[in-house]
């Protein structure tokens, strides 16, 4: 065996070692970034039941909680994002007034997902409708298609974002049902913040869950039920 060969072996060993040292932290970071990689289960369908009788006119607690949780400015100008808003409605024939929160209804057949050219709008296995901020090209077709005006377009550069909820200028966003909280076993910020417990969150598919029992026992409606989108958010007392 010549001397040159040993040198080469030594060189290869050192290179392999150096490469491993260089890559390892990156791999670890990726692992950390992905966090718990357990996939969402299609056995679950997350949803909400909103009791309009308990929702008070003028109360904005759910909206404030959402803004804080998701790092929204809370401004309500025409170009500002509003993931959840309070709507005051009045029955034209009877004059009866109601107040209720409106946000992404997390449809089973979401029109936004149908029209999105790049599959950036998608529905997770557990029924949560989300926007992949890396894929969204900002065409706003989903905003045209949504029957609930649930989506906002980021019109300006953003500062001080919540690390759990990345957002991006030039992309579309909406209520994520606080997916980052759900994945940690918590309930959405709006449901937690509501003092009158008007927002009941849970698994619509689990027959023993509080929400499923309630939906079986009280009259609830889907908004624009005529469109047959099978929304995950239901309203009681409407």
């Amino acid at each position: 065996m010549s001397e040159i060969d040993t040198q080469r072996r030594q060189f290869l060993k050192t290179s392999a070692g150096a490469a491993a040292i260089a890559i390892a932290p990156g791999m670890m970071l990726i692992q950390t970034a992905h966090g718990d990689t357990q996939a969402a289960s299609s056995k679950v369908r997350w949803g909400m039941l909103i009791d309009t009788a308990q929702c008070k006119e003028g109360c904005n607690d759910c909206v404030s909680a959402c803004n804080k949780e998701n790092g929204l400015s809370g401004k309500t100008g025409p170009t500002d994002s509003q993931w959840i808003r309070k709507i005051e409605i009045k029955d034209i024939s009877s004059g009866r007034g109601l107040s209720l929160p409106m946000m992404c209804q997390h449809c089973e057949h979401p029109p936004c997902v149908d029209v999105c050219p790049t599959n950036a709008s998608f529905k997770r296995a557990d029924g949560i409708v989300l926007v992949d901020r890396h894929r969204c090209i900002g065409c706003r077709y989903c905003m045209m298609a949504c029957p609930y005006k649930a989506r906002s377009f980021v019109h300006e550069p953003l500062q001080d974002q919540n690390p759990d909820v990345p957002r991006g200028k030039g992309t579309v966003e909406a209520c994520s049902l606080c997916v980052h909280r759900i994945d940690k076993g918590q309930i959405p910020a709006c449901a937690e913040a509501c003092q009158n417990k008007a927002i009941l969150f849970g698994d619509l598919n689990d027959a023993n869950s509080e929400i499923a029992k309630k939906i079986r026992s009280v009259a609830s409606v889907q908004i624009r039920a005529d469109l047959q989108l099978n929304t995950g958010v239901r309203y009681q007392g409407l």
Binding site: T76, P78, T79, D80, S81, Q82, R85, K86, I87, E88, I89, K90, D91, I92, S93, M102, P111, V113, D114, V115, C116, P117, T118, N119, A120, R135, C136, I137, G138, C139, R140, Y141, M143, M144, A145, C146, P147, Y148, K149, R151, S152, F153, V154, H155, E156, P157, G168, K169, G170, T171, V172, I223, R224, L227
Partner: protein, 393 residues
């Protein structure tokens, strides 16, 4: 020598025109840069009016790009010699307007830098994704079609290419109409009438653009267009204008018939401020009635009348699209039928929209791209219609 100086001044004029077009394109590029830097907040668009002035320009250009090919189809598919002589120019205009329109559409995106994402991720249920295929396919097909016309050895394939373009552009304009037809939740859209309406509108707008360019080219080359040819093509424009007026009227009449749509129609046709004005004065009077007078009143015959009629049809097209796209979004979405609604997110309110300068710069930038492509191509290649001494059909 006198001849030569005339040639020189024309040469100079060509470069001046090119420079002017280039300046307008630069203006568009500046608008794109600003919207990229500051975000769409500097446009007039917002979370209620999500598609604005750029979309009016882009959709006009794309629809006209499909309609202008009518001239080519009547020649290649139906074998009319007079139109066949004009097929190359029509194809060129189609490519030019498609380029301009697509540029505006792409550059208005929130993330135009992600074009690769749009090209590599197709959602098969999305009309937008279909249109990515339809637009790029149309572009390639028309290039091939031009090749079969301008390269002698390719002539045998001309008929087949012409037929393919004929079919493709119908599908393409159907796709453009479907963008709106599939929006079931919005009062203004969600109608199966929209694809055929867009097809008929494309005939009128495309032919109007063709007339303007053809007259410009003949004037530039100091040739007089045979009045018999002008007469026939002028009448064709008249027929298309009447046809498109019929489609638009049908669309509004069907809406008026549905009780739940009367509120929207009232807004667009009667008390919506700028929208009824643009509809009645811009589209109906300037864009239809006046052109029809210019076309069908015998005392008004002549190239100038045709030019004026064509320009008015184009203007009317912009007015109609403004009413359709922006007026359609300004009217509140009916989330709670039977209820009055109000909120911090403009529920139950008419949304305000004032287009910003940047949107106009971007739109005119698209027009300028089409203008430059046409001007350069007409200069370096032979797109001048070559009529036979005797036209049998």
């Amino acid at each position: 020598m006198a001849d030569l100086s005339a040639l020189r001044s024309k040469n100079r004029l060509y470069y001046v025109l090119l420079a002017l077009g280039g300046l307008v394109v630069l203006g568009g590029a500046y608008a794109v840069h600003m919207m990229e830097h500051y975000g769409h907040v500097i446009s007039g668009m917002n979370n209620q009016i999500v598609w604005g002035m750029p979309h009016v320009f882009a959709i006009f250009l794309i629809v006209a790009a499909s309609g202008v090919l009518n001239v080519a189809s009547i020649g290649s598919v139906f074998g009319k010699a007079m139109y066949k002589a004009r097929a190359p120019l029509a194809s060129l205009l189609s490519i030019a307007m498609l380029s301009g329109g697509l540029a505006v559409l792409m550059l208005d995106l929130g993330r135009p830098d992600r074009l690769v994402v749009a090209a590599t991720n197709y959602n098969l249920t999305s009309v937008f994704a279909w249109n990515v295929v339809l637009y790029s396919g149309m572009f390639s097909l028309v290039v091939v079609y031009l090749w079969t016309m301008m390269e002698r050895r390719m002539n045998p394939f001309n008929k087949a290419a012409g037929l393919a373009v004929f079919v493709w552009r119908f599908v393409l304009t159907t796709g453009t109409g479907l963008i709106f037809a599939f929006l079931t939740a919005r009062q203004a859209y969600g109608s199966a009438l929209l694809p055929p309406m867009f097809i008929v509108l494309s005939f009128a707008w495309g032919l109007a653009v063709f007339h303007v360019v053809q007259l410009a080219i003949y004037t530039w080359n100091e040739k007089a267009l045979d009045p018999a040819i002008m007469e026939r093509k002028k009448k064709l424009l008249g027929v298309f204008v009447v046809g498109s007026l019929y489609m638009v009227a049908t669309y509004h009449m069907t809406n008026l018939y549905f009780a739940h749509q009367t509120g929207f129609e009232r807004f667009i046709l009667l008390d919506g401020g700028v929208y009824p004005n643009l509809f009645w004065w811009g589209y109906i009077v300037l864009g239809n009635l006046l052109p029809l007078l210019l076309i069908f009143v015998p005392a008004l015959s002549g190239n100038k009348s045709v030019l004026a009629a064509s320009l008015l049809v184009i203007l009317g097209g912009f007015a109609l699209l403004y009413v359709f796209i922006i007026g359609g979004q300004a009217y509140p979405l009916n989330i709670f039928p039977g209820y009055e609604a109000s909120s911090s997110f403009a529920d139950g309110q008419i949304s305000a929209y004032v287009p910003s300068l940047y949107e106009f710069l971007l739109g005119f930038g698209g027009l300028a791209i089409a203008f430059i492509i046409t001007t350069v191509s007409v200069r370096v290649l032979n797109f001048m219609p070559q009529d036979k001494p005797y036209i049998s059909d």
